[in-house]
Amino acid sequence: METGTMLCTDRETPLIKVSHLGITFGGLRAVNDFSLEMGENELVGLIGPNGAGKTTVFNLLTGVYTPSEGDYYFCGQRMNGRKTHEIVQSGIARTFQNIRLFSKMTVLDNVKVAMNPHYEYNVFAAMLRTGKYWASEAENDKKSRELLEIFNLQDKADAVAENLPYGQQRKLEIARALATDMKLLLLDEPAAGMNPTETEELLECIRIIRQRFNISILLIEHDMSLVMKICERIIVIDYGTTIARGTPEEISQDPRVIAAYLGTDD
């Protein structure tokens, strides 16, 4: 499966530009003045202690919450206030901290759901099973299987999703996100609950998909070794506020980050 037409042909426009994004729940400022700019094929890490607002940032970017202030542009288009499915269709897809698969559907169908907009037949063609229906079904069936192959899930295509082992469920979730044909992938703690071998496999996986699909990835992760290994830039937030940004080396020596994670003496 190849990535679709890139919307951002203009090199001047960043893939995503987030400026001063914030959200307030009642009296609580969950995210404050969050800014981010990412180009094509970048891998940025978003870290911070528990409850810092990382997932809230994801929810803001994917339209689960509407930001109280600030704007964000994806491929030059303003995305504030759009619905989740519209945002996904314009090219931002995500995975979830606690895996959310269509647990009773087969592995293959999980991927096919995300491919829904790429099917070319309408409801009448579906009910009458016209030639277009069969052609489109066959084409997307092939694409889905190819995608599963990348994640080494091709043999599990007909298995029910909830019966997969944990590591493979994570992979399937990423495969499903990829099937939406997106340009920016938001991974919410992909290595959570994985053993070292599985984490290693996942790292490899992320490298492969990034190269192959030429996508950018924004990653939330607690596993510091993973973050340090693969991220080019890191943003650290604490209590909803960005406290540091820079390369992994800069971040690992930043006193504010160390304070946020380990606490200070005074």
Partner: protein
């Protein structure tokens, strides 16, 4: 054609089997070999099948508890009864034979579309809710439809300009007698087959996958680019279309209509069929619809105890077989045939059980 060979074979087997079945029904119907009692059960079973499979779309596949399905049936039956009555009184296609059939077909289409329209109107506000709340609000809408129809002067009494506000509509333009009902068995069977086929192909398409994904996880579904509100309302309206068609057949089945027959209890009745057969199994809905309709007729004399029996059966069902009689299993004739041909058959596969 792009249809794969295997599917072509399956389609041919299915069409052949259904043709034979409908041929038998046609023969029995036209020779009037069956008693009017059996013919009545056949009609009611067909109505039950259409109602249960279409309700299964919302309850089983979309996973939304809707309890007002009989309300749409009510719209379908009254709209076709009044439309046909208007046609008869105006002298349009008023005769018997082919004209009667044409009138029936027009009524089927009209009532389906009208019920679908009401499905959209009810669905948009109602489907913002979930679970028990949705069940209660759809139940409420079903009752509202019933009460409104009772209050419309031209939808009661002798109908149209001779009507009066009443729960009973004494005249319909359809209202087939026993001989006509026997002759029309073939047609009603055909309509049922068409409805079920359309629902089945709908489920086995990208739309069906989108709907089932909403049932499994709404948040993940919208994060996969599925427009949840659109699919919910569309499916709800789509299932209402079939309830309208079933209502139209219902109107043809009786010489008069009574709103009381399509109230809350009727909705529960069809809901029981869906739960009984298995939420998410069209085969299950068909089996349960035929079984429960026949049982209802057989136990006519114990009518008061029916709900008692239902509740006990449902309680046992929830304890011992919570997924329903068939779960999400679908019967496939083609697979059964290839299975019966023995282990030598090339395309032999284990039976499709979508657990």
């Amino acid at each position: 054609m792009n249809m794969p060979k295997k599917n072509k074979q399956a389609a041919l087997i299915n069409i052949a089997a259904l043709s034979i079945l409908l041929g038998i029904v046609a023969y029995l119907g036209f020779t009037r070999a069956l008693s009017s009692y059996i013919v009545g059960i056949f009609w009611l079973s067909c109505i039950g099948i259409i109602m249960a499979t279409s309700l299964n779309l919302t309850n089983g596949f979309l996973g939304q508890m809707a309890l007002g399905h009989a309300g749409f049936m009510l719209i379908g039956s009254y709209s076709s009864a009044l439309l046909s009555l208007a046609m008869v009184r105006a002298g349009v296609l008023a005769g018997g034979g082919a004209q009667q059939l044409a009138r029936f077909i027009i009524c089927l289409i009209f009532s389906g579309l009208l019920a679908g329209l009401f499905g959209i109107l009810v669905g948009i506000p109602a489907l913002r809710l979930r679970g028990d709340y949705l069940a209660i609000i759809t139940l409420g809408f079903g009752e509202i439809i019933r009460v409104v129809i009772q209050g419309i002067p031209w939808a009661g009494g002798d109908g149209l300009s001779q009507g009066s506000a009443s729960p009973v509509l004494f005249k319909t333009g359809l209202g087939f007698n026993n001989a006509t009902k026997s002759h029309y068995m073939f047609f009603v069977g055909l309509v049922t087959v068409l409805c079920v086929s359309v629902i089945y192909t709908f489920i086995r398409s990208r739309f069906g996958r989108a709907i089932i994904s909403i049932r499994d996880d709404e948040i993940a579904s919208s994060a996969s680019g599925i427009d949840i509100t659109f699919y919910k309302v569309t499916t709800f309206a789509f299932s209402a279309v079939f309830a309208g068609i079933a209502g139209s057949i219902f109107a043809a089945c009786y010489s008069s209509l009574n709103t009381g027959n399509m109230g809350f209890m009727a909705s529960v009745n069809y809901f029981v069929m869906v739960v009984f057969g298995g939420m998410g199994s069209i085969t299950g809905s068909i089996v349960a619809a035929i079984g429960l309709t026949s049982l209802n007729e057989a136990l006519r004399s114990f009518d008061e105890y029916r709900m008692l029996v239902y509740s006990i059966v449902l309680i046992f069902m929830m304890i011992f077989r919570p997924a329903g009689l068939l779960g999400t299993y679908e019967f496939s004739l083609a697979k059964t045939v290839s299975y019966l041909r023995g282990p030598g058959a090339k395309s032999k596969k284990k039976k499709e059980v979508q657990a």
